[in-house]
């Protein structure tokens, strides 16, 4: 059996642990640079604030409804997440941390356990110990555990936030209740295609033939079908390296000059390269993109990206920045107000499987240099050692006007209790 444990409204719940006056009030958390809403409490959802709502468009609604708005505080969320995950790992030896607020647990040899009871114990221990409310869904497969979790979350009174799919009857009932577009792993395109052939829920999806699913949705879709039928095909994934690495940001103000954007691109490239080196990989493609502010209908709009194949696999900041700058030169156009840029490195291969090129290769002198830079930055913290093309001033600090204190990670930010 698998369990999916999911923290309810995680970011908003983290704020509430340390700010009890927020309980029962609408809370919204903004993305990096305070751009748009990325997390909402149930009360904020009820006000009709959608995911991704641009902060400036909803300012009036926030004020009129006394919505508590916060910048995202990743120091706080990261610390609370690791506390939750550590506690979860005391309940099962096999755990896959799926995202900052979700984890799959595997229960092998737990046949004699009443999982419903065990789930309640997990739920109580985490919620009591951290203040973060969670929902737990048990099922024979990961995809079904996702469905069970959704039921636990949707009906907290009836399920006490724990639901177990352990009979055929429960499985079918749960699948009939799950809309096809809400099934884990079914994207918008496939959902549309399935709806067009009258497949509206997950149960109807499992009634399709294997041949049809394989033909229309590849082996990935077929695996999902089997998972929903209760045949386990997916095991826990233990910390796999990433397939691509992206660093993208909205700017705190709009920029028109290539020098400013060039510096941003250099900084994003340095961050991607550092992440590549951390997971011992090289890349052979780099994508650079820029775009204007789509919400400013009064201004001319422009957006472009370019993918450049490197001549050889590399993870050197210097070499990657060389390609990134060539790319930027090609897509940059004068006369626009740019709001966002980003760098994505792709075609990752582990260091030990790097294919050498006949005529050119990564400069071998860069490897020791990069490892010194990484070591220095690790020991003195932050990105103190930078390349000259990167920013040096404070000019680019992330916009976090509504940042809450880092209650758990900075001693000067601890909660103060008036006695």
């Amino acid at each position: 059996m698998f369990a999916l444990v999911d923290c309810n409204n995680f970011y908003a719940s983290c704020q509430r642990v340390f700010e009890p006056h927020l309980i029962g009030k609408p809370v919204a958390i903004l993305s990096n640079n305070d751009g748009c809403v990325i997390a909402r409490s149930n009360e904020a959802k009820a006000l009709g604030i959608p995911m991704g709502a641009p902060a400036f468009e909803y300012k009036k609604l926030f004020e009129e409804n006394n919505v508590f708005v916060y910048s995202s505080n990743y120091a706080l969320y990261g610390d609370m997440s690791s506390r939750v995950m550590n506690i979860l790992s005391s309940f099962s030896p096999d755990i896959e941390v799926y995202s900052i607020d979700e984890a799959f647990l595997k229960f092998q040899g737990f046949e004699r356990f009443d999982l419903g009871e065990y789930g309640l114990k997990i739920q109580r221990t985490v919620t009591k110990g951290t203040g973060i409310p969670i929902s737990v869904g048990f099922a024979p497969t990961k995809a079904l555990a996702k469905v069970a979790n959704k039921i636990a979350k949707k009906f907290p009174e009836r399920t006490k936030s724990v639901y177990v799919i352990d009979t055929e009857e429960k499985r079918i009932k749960a699948l009939k209740w799950t809309n096809i577009e809400d099934v884990w792993g079914i994207g918008r395109k496939h959902a549309k295609r399935l709806q067009s052939i009258k497949v509206a829920n997950a149960y109807q999806f499992t009634q399709l033939t294997d041949e049809w699913v394989r033909k229309e949705m590849s082996v990935v879709g077929l695996r999902l079908k089997h998972e929903l039928q209760g045949i386990p095909t997916l095991d826990l994934e233990i910390a796999k390296d990433k397939k691509m690495i992206a660093t993208t940001r909205s700017f705190d103000k709009m920029h028109t000059k290539i020098e400013d954007i060039s510096e941003r691109v250099a900084t994003f490239t340095a961050s991607c390269a550092e992440k590549l080196r951390r997971q011992n990989s090289h890349c052979n493609m780099i994508m650079v993109f820029v775009h204007t502010n789509g919400f400013r209908k009064d201004q001319p709009q422009y957006s472009r990206n370019i993918v450049i194949k490197t001549d050889f696999p590399t993870n050197s900041t210097i070499e990657l920045n060389h390609y990134a700058q060539i790319g930027l030169q090609q897509i940059f156009r004068e006369g626009y107000h740019y709001k966002k840029a980003g760098v994505i490195v792709m075609g990752l291969t582990p260091n030990n499987q790097t294919q050498l090129s006949l005529f050119s290769s990564s400069n071998p002198k860069h490897q020791p240099l990069m490892s010194v830079v990484d070591k220095l930055n690790k020991s003195i913290g932050q990105t103190k050692v930078r390349f000259a093309s990167q920013s040096v001033g404070r000019q680019w600090k992330m916009k976090q006007e509504k940042l809450s204190p880092c209650y758990t990670t900075k001693i000067k930010d601890l909660i103060q209790i008036q006695l």
């Binding site: 009591k128 110990g129 951290t130 601890l414 209790i417 006695l419």
Partner: protein, 149 residues
């Protein structure tokens, strides 16, 4: 590991401190010199790790700074750093961090049938009676208070 007291007076108890939280290496020195081995060698392991002593449940322990004087008789003063374990069950006479009607406070708790008393440790403050009308959450149990001089 247990606290090993080395000297007890009527008012104070002394312990040997451990300054080496992360260092696991034993100190082996006796073999280098000739002569009578130090009798202290047998007691090298008598050491205390402050982290382990004061934090039993790492994932559920939080710190908070004290403001105010309502708990001075319990030895909690303005500016102290409280160690709070959220996982502990509330019990009579424990000092707890409470959320009452949306704000934090620290008081000694007395649980009676249908009501809870939040008792200050300072004659100037009256006990607070908490009934079902109020919104009370016992947020965590105070396990220690740290004072810097």
């Amino acid at each position: 590991m247990k606290l090993i007291s080395t000297h007890i007076t009527p008012t104070l108890e002394f312990y040997t401190p451990d300054f080496s939280t992360e260092v696991e290496l034993p100190y082996i020195d006796a073999g280098l010199r000739a002569g009578f081995p130090s009798p202290a060698d047998d007691f090298i392991e008598i050491s205390i790790d402050i982290n382990k002593e004061y934090i039993k449940n790492r994932d559920t322990t939080f710190f908070a700074k004290v403001k105010g004087n309502s708990m001075v008789n319990a030895g909690i003063f303005d500016g102290d750093l409280l160690i709070i374990d959220k996982s502990l069950e509330p019990q009579n006479d424990k000092i707890a961090v409470c959320q009452i009607d949306g704000s934090f406070t620290v008081k000694r708790i007395k649980i009676e049938k249908d009501l809870v008393w939040l008792i200050a440790e300072n004659e100037d403050f009256k006990p607070i009676k908490v009934t079902t009308e109020n919104d009370l959450i016992i947020w965590g149990i105070v396990t220690a208070s740290i004072k810097k001089f």
